[in-house]
């Protein structure tokens, strides 16, 4: 464990009744990198994020964020430390317009502290700030899109809204749960530069992805989960060459589909 690690996870275990969703999973994420987590469906990736961010109580294990023990803390406290997450199944406030969705995270203690009075400080009030964030994440500023009800937005925008909620908290680390899934190839192509930009802004990213091609464009290291256990970890090329990984993927789904999807 080095000082550069923003996140240190040790021996997380979690079982749901009889299902061992996670077994002794440990990994470190370095400050500023994009860290990928891959694995077949049901391998425990979402559960891992839920445990780290406090949405699920893990059975055992420890999580250190910036050297501080955050294990078993409530999710809102963890989010206020700048460790944010997106949801695989998007969780917008459907009855509110897109830009009002962001007023909720802008109301958080962290956003208020960072942004000054009304979450905007010199930047303006929360409504203005949320339009700015939405523009940054790919909502056209002068269109009606930011003002539309979240319930009328297509998947692509909802995925962006998930990321926008994290950005409103001025995060240091974002755990992304399949932000590319459900998107068309062109939508993914437009999201990749966005991820790169977040990294340039100094935000560390952990990305759960099935779209390996796009993931490998941005991720420096990846970890593979299978049946709740960590198979291996390393640079993408080495990991994909690993026999155990090939086996795990071939066992359930086709590796080739993911790697060489056009």
């Amino acid at each position: 464990m080095s000082d550069e690690d923003i996140l240190q996870v040790t021996n997380i275990c979690k079982s749901f009744g009889g299902v061992q969703a996670l077994l002794n999973v440990s990994f470190n994420v370095q400050q500023g990198e994009v860290f990928g987590i891959i694995g077949p469906n049901g391998s425990g990736k979402t559960t891992l994020i839920n445990c780290i961010t406090g949405f699920i109580k893990m059975d055992s294990g420890k999580v250190f964020y910036k050297g501080k023990d955050i294990s078993y803390k409530p999710p809102n406290q963890i989010a206020n430390l700048g460790l944010t997450r997106t949801f695989q199944i998007m969780r917008p406030y459907y009855s509110l317009p897109a830009y009002k969705n962001l007023i909720v995270p802008l109301f958080s203690p962290r956003a208020r502290r960072k942004g000054g009075w009304r979450g905007g400080g010199k930047l303006g009030d929360r409504g203005t700030v949320s339009i700015d964030i939405l523009e940054e994440i790919g909502f056209e500023r002068d269109s009606f899109v930011p003002y539309k009800l979240a319930s009328s937005l297509p998947t692509g925008y909802l995925k962006r809204l998930e990321l926008a909620r994290c950005l409103a908290l001025r995060p240091d680390l974002i755990l992304c749960d399949e932000v590319f899934s459900g998107l068309s190839m062109s939508e993914i192509a437009s999201m990749v530069p966005l991820i790169e930009k977040l990294q340039m802004d100094g935000i560390t990213l952990v990305m759960i992805e099935h779209r390996l091609r796009e993931l490998f464009r941005v991720a420096s290291r990846v970890m593979v989960l299978n049946f709740g256990e960590k198979l291996t970890e390393g640079i993408p090329e080495k990991v994909m060459a690993d026999e155990k990984v090939k086996e795990a993927y071939l066992g359930s789904e086709k590796l080739l589909d993911y790697t060489f999807e056009a």
Binding site: A79, N80, Y93
Partner: protein, 337 residues
């Protein structure tokens, strides 16, 4: 011109005058369009004491206003925070006893007992409901219903706070006009205050809790804290009503924990239209007089009452004000088919 060639077309009015927060009002007609309904409501409520001559029915207006406070609180919790509360009786009882005790044992005047019972009652109710806040839906409702029943029995069994006789000799209002206009102004203030609150930033957090509480937690906000704040507001309105009730009847007793206070606000919300705030308020001014009038029929009134409710649920399930607001924002015209 036969209707075969023409059909009625319904259009939503332009977004210009409808979008809240953006007031691009350009003509007197548009100002009138926005202000008129509010004006009618306020003037209508304030005229009630003048228009109603009989002392008995004047009292009913005050009682309806107290129910309106409960209904506003219920609609706020149910449709803007996602908490279904049957706590009307709990809030009224706690507020009623608090005001009566402050007045009788400490000798405080009405001017102090009502605000103190409002805040103190809200605090007591919120603290007692704190353990129930993580509960959802009907489970929360059951807890809010359990407290008034339990408190009633405790007061009876321990013979505290005057036991079954209640607390007698509580100070009354100087006169009927003060009694009526004060509560009507409070109701109007509560309505517009709540309407404003739900569109403020903190109101969006409340609505977020209803829509998707996990996303609120992911946004760094404690859902328990915001639910507690919301319960504080709603129970404050109820306690205010309870305090008022004690001073109106110059008495506080276990009948202030009666389930009517929990049930009528819900019925009023069904009739008036949930989520509109004004609908439940008007629902009370319709239901409470009816329920008074039906008193003549003895226990049979429950049957009439149920029939009215069933009719509304079957024929206007969205509530009158939801329907009325939609119609108000649409205009119709005939067009050629």
């Amino acid at each position: 011109m036969s209707t075969i060639e023409r059909r009625r077309e319904r259009l939503d009015r332009g977004i210009k005058v409808r979008t809240e927060g953006i007031y691009a009002v350009s003509s007197w007609e548009e100002v009138t369009y926005l202000v008129l309904p509010r004006l009618i409501l306020i003037v209508g409520l304030l005229l009630l004491p003048v228009l109603i001559p009989s002392l008995y029915w004047k009292r009913v207006v005050s009682i309806a206003a107290i129910y309106a406070l409960l209904a506003l609180g219920f609609d706020f919790l149910a449709h803007f925070v996602g908490l279904v509360s049957l706590g009307g009786a709990f809030f009224i009882g706690v507020g009623g006893y608090t005001a009566a005790l402050l007045n009788k044992s400490l000798g405080l005047p009405i001017l102090l007992t009502i605000p103190m019972a409002t805040l103190g009652g809200a605090l007591i109710c919120t603290l007692l409901l704190l353990p129930a806040l993580p509960l959802r839906g009907v489970y929360f409702a059951i807890v809010t219903l359990m407290y008034p029943l339990a408190l009633m029995r405790i007061i009876e069994a321990l013979n505290i706070f005057g036991g079954t006789d209640g607390i007698l000799g509580v100070a009354g209002f100087p006169n009927r006009w003060v009694e009526q206009y004060l509560i009507l102004l409070i109701v109007i203030f509560a309505l517009f205050g709540l309407r404003r609150l739900v569109n403020e930033d903190i109101g969006l957090v409340f609505r977020g809790v209803k829509d998707n509480d996990q996303a609120v937690r992911a946004s760094g906000l404690s859902i328990t804290l915001y639910k507690a704040i919301a319960v504080f507001i709603a129970s404050g309105l109820g306690s205010l009503g309870g305090a008022y009730l004690s001073h109106i009847y110059m008495w506080s007793g276990i009948s202030q924990f009666a389930l009517d206070f929990s049930v009528i606000p819900i019925a009023a919300t069904v009739i008036g239209g949930g989520g509109t705030l004004v609908g439940p308020l008007l629902g009370c001014f319709f239901l409470v007089p009816i329920s008074e009038w039906l008193r003549e029929f003895g226990t049979l009134r429950i049957v009439f009452y149920s029939l009215i409710l069933m009719a509304f649920i079957m024929f206007r399930s969205e509530g009158v004000m939801v329907y009325a607001q939609r119609k108000y924002h649409q205009f119709q015209r005939w067009v050629k088919v």
